[in-house]
């Protein structure tokens, strides 16, 4: 495979400073948001902010923004596989009817249907 001669992109300290300040601000927002009652959206907001922070770290601190395509593919694959693990397992749990006494959103739809059909 041909070695592509890319001159190394050097991220400036100014950029790093901007990012760390953003990360600290986002941390503050996360804590603040935790004290606001958003019901079941608290976790969504928390994870969303965490993901924004993680994305900044990956793109800038870890230089993924300036990395070859191959690196980006590796990163995406890793995230995608984690999502596979989580969502496919959750789909099994979510579709079980009344498993361990827990009502998952989907089981409520299914068991409602079963009740209707009698």
């Amino acid at each position: 495979m041909a070695e592509h001669e890319h001159t190394e992109h050097i991220v400036s300290p100014g950029m790093y400073l901007t990012i760390i300040l953003t990360l600290l601000a986002l941390t503050g927002i996360t804590v603040f948001a935790a004290f606001v009652d958003l019901g079941r959206f608290n976790i969504v907001v928390a994870l969303l902010i965490a993901t924004v922070k993680a994305t900044l770290v990956v793109l800038i601190f870890m230089h993924a923004k300036y990395a070859p395509e191959r690196t980006k593919l590796v990163i995406v694959a890793g995230i995608f596989w984690l999502a596979l693990l989580l969502f496919m397992t959750l789909s099994d749990y979510a579709s079980r009817v009344d498993y361990r006494g827990v009502r998952y959103p989907m089981t409520q739809i299914i068991s409602h249907k079963i009740q209707q059909e009698g």
Partner: protein, 561 residues
């Protein structure tokens, strides 16, 4: 073999990787991928014997319906240790750690793998994991089944669960390091001209396998880590008495353990993709499809694990989805099988031992794969789940498929590894013995499964005895089929006829080096200008290439074998 086998006797090259340095330190501290491959060969063979011993105990015990040989508890330990030893310590490392390690740098024109020291580390990690598991065996072994289902394994079992679980956990890292090494090597260490689509399919197969190793093994590692914690410290994730969930364990376990079966079969498929073109003297039919199918198997293989859990109270929706995906994952394997068969058509076929193993693979993998579809069909699975049908299915794939691939590859590359040829007729007899023994062992188990004999039971109804006796008889023949190569391959390594660089001849880059190769593989980095399996355009192979494009290349006459 080449015609020059009848000419003046060949001599081993003066310097090669085996005699480059001497002494035990030069082996135990080597970073040469070829020596590391041999270290692995010794260790996986050891564990093959360990697993084989437990298999023998199982089959001897099952000769009679009333279980006179072993107590129920002892029987549970036998099948568990058989599974653990064979799966984690033989099948998963076998082809990648022995043949992948040895051949990948040679096949791509590199001096070594990307990370030679990590390669050596992976062997030591494997050994440490193996020692932990042996420690468990010495302390009576464990009785949970190789699947370690909770809470039996974490709470109730009165056996040496913790050391075995820790051992498998540790060995998982060996797998991860090997996969990492292969992936990076294929990306960054290819010789000039060795483009992706000129790579041997053996390399593609190992690339796909490495993807599975990298993405799956860490999950079983954390799962077994948590299970070990539960066993030792009483955590409660998987223990219903503490609010934990055994189904969670099963999900986490099978997320790896299903793709693990593709770790076991993909490398064997890679071997077959090398054997068939070589012994049909014809380029592989549908190279791109076979390469893509390898990747497809690796990816889709991650989507089907819940088919091991059809009987755990899943909803019909989830079950249907996973059953459908299970049918889909069979498609790329079928594509490969069709392509191998199509390669044979119009080829100039010879029946050297590696080819016999390849034919064996084709038939037996076909049976194993198709019976997987039976199991993936929901209505049928309810009746045959946890019966001998399952046992027969996976043994057809693992033994009829993976082990055939392993042995075929060992024979094929033995001349390259050792510089010497094995005795051909004895090898053919061993291959036939193995094939016959294998079918006698496992075909009756399909029948037993359909008749309803459950797996992992130490007794059975007397009407099943005839099939069990047949199976045990077959197993004893199978054992001979395994022992013969162990003996003659070892003999051949020291006293076999010197083979020369390319005895078959085959088209891979590894056959352009001396046998055995130099430590650095190539004196000069090769520049690749030819396509894979291109028998028609390789005058250096000395084959008789007829003028017409479609005409088969003539198989070389066999010498005095």
């Amino acid at each position: 073999m080449r015609e020059q086998a009848t000419g003046p006797a060949l001599k081993l090259p003066e310097k090669h990787y085996l005699n480059a340095t001497y002494g035990i330190r030069s082996w135990l501290l080597t970073t040469d991928h070829k020596r590391i491959a041999l270290l692995y060969l010794a260790s996986v063979t050891f564990f093959f014997f360990v697993g084989g011993f437990f298999a023998m105990m199982i089959r001897l015990h099952l000769l009679t319906p009333n279980g006179y040989l072993l107590t129920p508890d002892q029987y549970n330990r036998m099948f568990t240790m058989h599974g653990v030893a064979m799966i984690f310590f033989f099948l998963i490392p076998s082809i990648p750690a022995v043949m992948g390690n040895f051949l990948i740098p040679l096949m791509i024109g590199a001096k070594d793998l990307a990370f030679p020291k990590i390669n050596l580390l992976s062997w030591y990690v494997y050994v440490v994991g193996g020692l932990f598991t042996l420690w468990s065996m010495i302390n009576g072994g464990l009785d949970t089944g190789w699947t370690f289902y909770t809470p039996l394994s974490t709470v109730y079992s009165n056996s040496a669960v913790a050391p075995a679980v820790v051992g498998v956990f540790i060995t998982g890292f060996s797998s991860i390091l090997t996969g990492l090494n292969f992936l990076v090597t294929v990306h960054t260490m290819r010789a000039p001209g060795m483009t992706w689509f000129r790579l041997p399919l053996f390399v593609w197969a190992h690339y796909a396998t490495s993807i599975v190793m990298i993405l799956g093994t860490p999950v079983v590692a954390i799962t077994l880590g948590l299970a070990a914690m539960e066993r030792v410290f009483g955590l409660g994730f998987f223990n219903p008495a503490m609010g934990g969930d055994p189904i969670l364990f099963q999900h986490l376990f099978w997320f790896y353990s299903h793709p693990a079966v593709y770790i076991m079969i993909l490398p064997a498929m890679g071997v077959i993709s090398e054997l068939i073109p070589t012994f049909a003297r014809k380029r592989l039919f549908g190279y791109h499809f076979v390469a893509a199918a390898s990747l497809a198997i690796a990816v889709i293989g991650f989507l089907v694990w819940t088919h091991h859990m059809f009987l755990t109270g899943q909803s019909t929706y989830a079950a249907v989805a996973f059953s459908f995906l299970t049918f889909i994952v069979a498609v790329p394997s079928a594509i490969k099988t069709f392509n191998w068969t199509a390669t044979l058509f119009g080829g100039s076929i010879s029946f050297d031992t590696p080819m016999l193993y390849a034919f064996g693979f084709l038939g037996l993998f076909l049976v194993g794969g198709l019976t997987g579809l039976f199991l993936g069909a929901l209505g049928v699975d309810i009746n045959i789940h946890d019966t001998y049908f399952v046992v027969a299915h996976f043994h057809y794939i693992m033994v009829g498929g993976a082990v055939m691939g392993y042995l075929g590859g060992l024979h094929f590359w033995w001349p390259k590894i050792t510089g010497r040829m094995y005795p051909e007729w004895l090898a053919r007899i061993a291959a036939f013995t193995l094939f016959i023994g294998f079918n006698f062992t496992f075909f009756p188990q399909f029948i037993l499964g359909i008749m309803g004999m459950p797996r992992r039971y130490h007794t059975y109804p007397p009407e099943f005895q005839i099939y069990n006796v047949m199976s045990t008889a077959g197993a004893s023949i199978l054992a001979v089929g395994y022992l013969l190569p162990m003996v003659y391959l070892t003999w051949a390594a020291f006293y076999g006829k010197v083979a020369g660089d390319n005895p078959w001849p085959a088209t891979g880059l590894e056959w352009k080096t001396q046998s055995p190769p130099l430590t650095e593989n190539f004196d000069v980095t090769p520049v690749v200008t030819w396509e894979a399996y291109d028998f028609h355009n390789r005058p250096d192979l000395g084959l008789d290439v007829p003028a017409g494009k479609g005409s088969p290349v003539v198989a070389p006459a066999h010498g005095d074998d």
